[in-house]
């Protein structure tokens, strides 16, 4: 059996982003689309600061939620453990994007090409079908089938990314995992070497990017509420005050009318006594 996996050594990554460019060119990615990313992390305070680079890609989860939530079966898992997307079946609902805790997926709704060109360059032709559909790192499964390494692995200048067969005990990947003490990322096919960095830098391969972009999670806005909610609540409270005032007025006029009727009812019976 074959189950592909990857070791990413954060202690070797220099943040050159050659992997991103290699992926972008060979995958014919459209402007703004990236199937792999490199997070730049900094911590500590001057003069004791540290910096690390954290490459991210599709983590090939053992039980991918993105596949489970897909309403049309467009997302699927291959026998070799990699996750693929049948673009022709994808409706672009975006549920798989929410379901990916590593932010590996995206939908490109723009029909643009690099350098504002009206037509794609020859190498971009392959991405015509990828508009309005979910897309992500393919783990270069076609190259793997031919015995070649993924483009990001092949082009890495420091060999920070290494790919292999996790199901084969004799694959050099196993020796590398043992030698470097790489941590398996959750229940995925990715192993990260963190060296002397705090192991929790791996928190950043989870949905950190998406959370940071969320307005409700940003400290400066938290607790203040947005204008629409405040306006809605204001209108609601105004309506409440008005209703209470109306109800009180109506109740009062009802009472007054009641007294008046009572008075009129009593009046004739009292008259004869008075006369």
């Amino acid at each position: 059996m074959v189950r592909y996996g990857m070791v990413v050594d954060t202690t070797l990554c220099t943040g050159c982003k050659t992997c991103i460019v290699a992926c972008q060119l060979n995958g014919a990615l459209r402007p703004g689309v990236s199937w792999t990313r490199v997070e730049e992390l900094e911590w500590g305070g001057w003069p004791n600061t540290q910096r690390a680079y954290l490459p991210r890609l599709c983590m090939s989860c053992l039980e991918p939620l993105c596949v489970k939530v897909c309403p049309t079966g467009a997302s699927f898992q291959r026998e070799n453990g990699t996750v693929g997307i049948a673009y022709e079946h994808c409706i672009g609902c975006g549920v798989c994007i929410a379901a990916c805790r590593y932010g590996a997926r995206s939908i490109n709704n723009s029909d643009s090409w690099f350098y504002g060109s009206a037509e794609p360059a020859p190498y971009e032709e392959g991405s015509r079908e990828r508009r309005g559909v979910a897309e992500k790192c393919t783990f270069c499964h076609e190259r793997l089938a031919e015995g070649l390494a993924p483009f990001c692995v092949e082009n890495c200048i420091t060999r920070a990314r290494v790919c292999g067969n996790l199901d084969d005990e004799n694959d050099p990947l196993h020796a590398l995992i043992k030698q470097t003490g790489a941590h398996q990322l959750d229940e995925t096919s990715l192993y990260y070497v963190t060296g002397n960095y705090p192991p929790d830098i791996l928190e950043h391969v989870r949905v950190a990017g998406d959370l940071a972009e969320n307005p409700l999670m940003q400290d400066e806005e938290k607790g203040e509420g947005n204008a629409a909610v405040l306006a809605g609540t204001g209108v609601g409270l105004g309506a409440c005050a008005l209703s209470v005032a109306l109800a009180a007025k109506r109740s009062r006029s009802n009472r007054e009318r009641g007294h008046e009727r009572e008075y009129k009812r009593k009046q004739p019976s009292e008259d004869p006594e008075n006369t």
Binding site: C70, G132, M217
Partner: protein
């Protein structure tokens, strides 16, 4: 994560489902009264006439169709929307789409029966359609919660009480919409007992919703999602994330506290103004529950 259009989708899906469920429930009470007229406490059900049912079912179907349209416009490839029905999987969205479509059909069928006074349809078929409509409507309400619950790494969503909270809220919104229709389509004298009964029913559902919120908070606290790390220590936990003005004002105040107080005041003082203020608040609160949940990703 999801756009705000998904918050509207979940709100309208729940509202339409809630309306259909409430209408079937009211009709069941009405049938019960007609069968045994000694249930004088249910005499108010007779004030909801056939044209009112027709309007309400058509409105519910329209709300559900609007909800489906919102999901459609949010798609990257809207022209492929039917793939959800033609290439189904066992995913929540797939099952939910079938449930939503079924609820729309049930609402249209029951609405047509009421609108055209189709007496040729036998009583057992009608009862079967109502039972199916109620089940589908309930499934739609629950689905709107499970849609978010399924995303297992977001603690604000992956809380077993979230579908319960959404279902209670959908019921409350459904009752409010039916009450609005009764207010505008039933004569003032005849509507008095109906709106009083609906208001009491809504108060009970709001209390259940408040209970579901408390249970949701307890479940979240028990999950103990106090993630702290070198980089994220400043980030709040899921409960702290929900403690924002949007949730407290938009949902807790507008959707729970104020409507409950106003409906209790209405039950006591019998002044319609209280109910007129409570009903829009229920709708505002229902929307902001979804809006805050969709946007509070923790």
């Amino acid at each position: 994560m999801f756009d705000n259009i998904i918050a509207w989708y979940l709100f309208l899906g729940g509202a339409g489902g809630g309306m259909v469920f409430v209408l079937v429930f009211l009709d069941a009470l009405s049938i019960r009264y007609r069968q045994k007229t000694e249930h004088s406490s249910l005499s108010w059900t007779q004030a909801i006439t056939r044209p009112t049912y027709a309007k309400a079912y058509v409105l519910a179907a329209a709300i559900l169709v609007l909800s489906a349209l919102l999901l459609l416009v949010d798609l990257g490839r809207p022209e492929r929307f039917y793939y959800v029905l033609t290439h189904p999987t066992f995913s929540v969205l797939s099952i939910g789409s079938y449930t939503l479509a079924g609820t729309i059909l049930a609402a249209l069928f029951l609405g047509s029966v009421a609108l055209f006074d189709l007496k040729r349809i036998s009583q057992p078929i009608l009862l079967l359609a109502e039972a199916a409509g109620a089940l589908l409507a309930l499934a739609t309400m629950v689905y709107t919660g499970i849609f978010l619950f399924e995303i297992d790494f977001i603690s604000t969503w992956h809380n077993p009480l979230l579908p319960v909270l959404f279902t209670c809220s959908a019921l409350s919104v459904g009752i409010a919409l039916v009450a609005v229709l009764v207010l505008v389509s039933v004569g003032e004298r005849a509507q008095k007992a109906v709106i009083l009964a609906l208001s009491r029913l809504d108060s009970v559902v709001i209390l259940a919703e408040a209970g579901a919120l408390i249970a949701y908070i307890c479940a979240a606290a028990q999950a103990g999602d106090q993630t702290s790390s070198l980089y994220m220590e400043a980030w709040p936990g899921s409960l702290a994330a929900l403690c924002n003005a949007d949730f407290l004002l938009g949902f807790v105040a507008c959707g729970l506290a104020l409507p409950l107080i106003l409906e209790l005041a209405f039950a006591r003082a019998k002044q319609r103004a209280f109910l007129l203020a409570a009903l829009p608040l229920v709708l505002i609160g229902g929307f902001y529950l979804r809006f805050c949940m969709v946007n509070t990703v923790w």
